[in-house]
Structure formats: C-alpha cells, structure tokens
C-alpha cells in the first residue's frame, strides 16, 4: 500500500514536471527569438578562420566553453585513473585467441584510425572535428583493449600523463599568449586564427581520446580468483 502511494506521488510529481516544462516550451515557442544567432554567425564567419559554422563556434566564438570542457574531461580522467588498480591497465587475461576476432581487429583498427584522421580533417569545412575524431580514436583504442592487444603506452607513465595534459595545456597556453599579446583572453589574432585552431584541434583530439580510453581501461576487471556472481551465495 505504501509502495503504491509512493509510486503514485512520484508519478504525480513527474507529470507536473512534464506539464510545467511543456507549458514553458510552448510559451517560449510562441515568442520570437530576441537575436537572430544564425544570421549573426553567418556574418562573422569570415573572421573566424574556418568555414564550418559549428567549428567556428566551438573553437573561436565560444572557445572559453571548450577550454572549460577539456578541463572537466582531464579532471574526470585523473579521477578515473586514480580509481584504477595498476594491474588492470594491461591484462594478459584479456588477450583473445579467437582467429576471427583477431582478423577483425587487424582490419578495423587501422580503418578506425583513418576514419579519425578523416573526421579531424573534415572539421574545417564540413561536419566533423575534434570531438568526433577523438571519440573514434578512443573507440579504436577500446577495440584494441577488447581483444587484449597490449597497450604499453597506457601504463600510468609518462606518455599517458603527457597525453592527458597536452590538450588542456596547449589550449591554455594559446589563451594566455593571446592575452599577453594585448587582445583579450582567448582572442586569436586574425592572421593566425586558422593555424592556431588547427593545432588546438589536433591536440584536443588526442587528449579527448586519451581521457575516454583511460576512463574505459581503468574500470576494474573481473579477476579469475574473484567469486563470480551466482556462485558465492
């Protein structure tokens, strides 16, 4: 009886929440937008150094957000790595012996790397960019990890720390340099906008892939001596 009451109250709360939100959406939809953002963006796209509007927003107009985002990602990666037992970073127990899977990996890991490079390159004038390329790069690392291809570079050593910190530090360096050069924080000089954005995108890709891969790898694995679920009563 009490459970029914709890569910009923929760359903009522959620329905009220949905109703209020829907009403708000309806009212906002009735009013016109105060500024025409797409128009404003299209006017200023030439000054940004890239041709794709979303990349321009991410890495030029709203690059402060992206800087904070990569900061959050690095913090999450550090937190994840600190949870890991060091033994789980490379696990010979995970190595596959299945020939089909092995062949699949040999074909797919290079394909994914090429795809990541393509997406990064496409980001300047087409959909694509650092985030998507970073996700695909991380996925290729996950693929290697799933089949147990040893990844020595992911030991908590120099390369991992370097990869984690690279994106954030280069981004911050550019920001501080532009602030010292006289203009505002993170305002690129217009002549250098394109190469700067390119450099930042490359290091961001690398860093995002490292963070995601490190977070995936640092989850504790089932050990053989661990009691499996269902047999320890």
């Amino acid at each position: 009886m009490m459970r029914f009451l709890g569910v009923a109250i929760m359903v009522a709360i959620c329905l009220a929440f949905a109703g209020g939100l829907a009403l708000t959406v309806w009212q906002i939809a009735g009013t016109p937008a105060p500024v025409n953002l797409p128009h404003l963006l299209a006017e200023n796209l030439d000054a940004s150094g890239v041709d794709h509007p979303i990349t321009a927003v991410l890495l030029n107009f709203r690059s402060y957000d992206t800087l904070l985002e990569i900061g959050v990602l690095v913090i999450a990666g550090i937190a994840g790595i600190s949870m890991a037992k060091t033994t789980s970073l490379e696990d010979p127990d995970l190595r596959t012996s299945d020939s089909l899977l092995y062949a699949l990996q040999r074909w797919f890991v290079p394909l994914m790397l090429v795809l990541a490079g393509y997406l990064l390159w496409a980001g300047s004038d087409r959909p694509g960019g650092a985030f998507q390329a970073g996700a695909v790069l991380a996925a290729s690392g996950v693929m290697m990890r799933l089949g147990g291809i040893p990844m020595d570079f992911l030991r908590p050593g120099m390369l991992l720390r370097f990869g984690l910190a690279l994106g954030f530090s280069v981004f911050l360096l550019v920001a501080v340099a532009s602030a010292l050069a006289g203009s505002a924080f993170l305002a690129y000089p217009e002549a250098f906008a394109k190469p700067l954005i390119l450099i930042i995108e490359v290091v961001l890709t690398f860093s995002i892939a490292m963070v995601l891969l490190a977070l995936f790898v640092s989850a504790p694995v089932n050990r053989t001596e661990e009691p499996e679920e269902g047999e320890a009563g």
């Binding site: 127990d93 596959t96 899977l101 693929m143 799933l146």
Partner: protein, 102 residues
C-alpha cells in the same frame, strides 16, 4: 522523389520498431544483441536515404561512422559477455553465461 525516399525511410523505421519487440522478448542475450545490430545496419540505410532526401551529403560520413563503430558493441559482447575464448584462464565451464530466460 523526396516523397518516395521519405516513405522508404518511414518503412525502415517501422522495421526498427519491430526489431524492438525482438530486443524486448528475445530469450537469449545473443538474440537481443543481434536485434540491436539490426538497428546499426538499418540505421546506416536510413542515414543514406536521408542524406539524399534532405540533400545533406555530410550524412554519408555519419553513416560511415555508424557502420564502423557499431561493430564495437558486438565485439564487446563476444569478448566480455559471452566470452567466446579464454582457454587459458581456468574458468569453470559453468561460468559461461548460458541462455537465460526471463
């Protein structure tokens, strides 16, 4: 032409809705996983259709990414859930997750 493409896209979405039933009911984990792979392949077809219908060639890249990355879920399934290999890890035979019914 756009009308036909959209109609075919709607039909493919209907197929996906039917695949949902298989995910929900499929007795074995492998049934559910294969149905979700159907989502991947049909999703690629849908994306290619919509790329023509909406005149957005960038959607081809999305279809390519989806096609490459939806393999990842099935690799995770066979290596981590079903565990097709592991001859040397000394696990008991009863450890293999058998088909379990609801």
């Amino acid at each position: 032409m756009t009308l036909i493409l959209n109609a075919v896209a709607a039909f493919l979405l209907l197929t996906l809705l039917i695949a949902l039933i298989r995910i929900w009911r499929g007795p074995a984990p492998a049934d559910r996983m294969l149905a979700s792979q159907l989502f991947g392949t049909t999703g690629v077809a849908l994306l290619l259709l919509l790329a023509h219908a909406q005149a957005m060639p960038a959607l081809m890249d999305v279809a390519l990414t989806l096609a490459v990355l939806s393999v990842l879920a099935i690799v995770a399934f066979v290596t981590r859930v079903v565990r097709i290999d592991r001859p040397s890890s000394g696990r008991k035979a009863g450890d293999q997750p058998e088909t379990h019914h609801d």
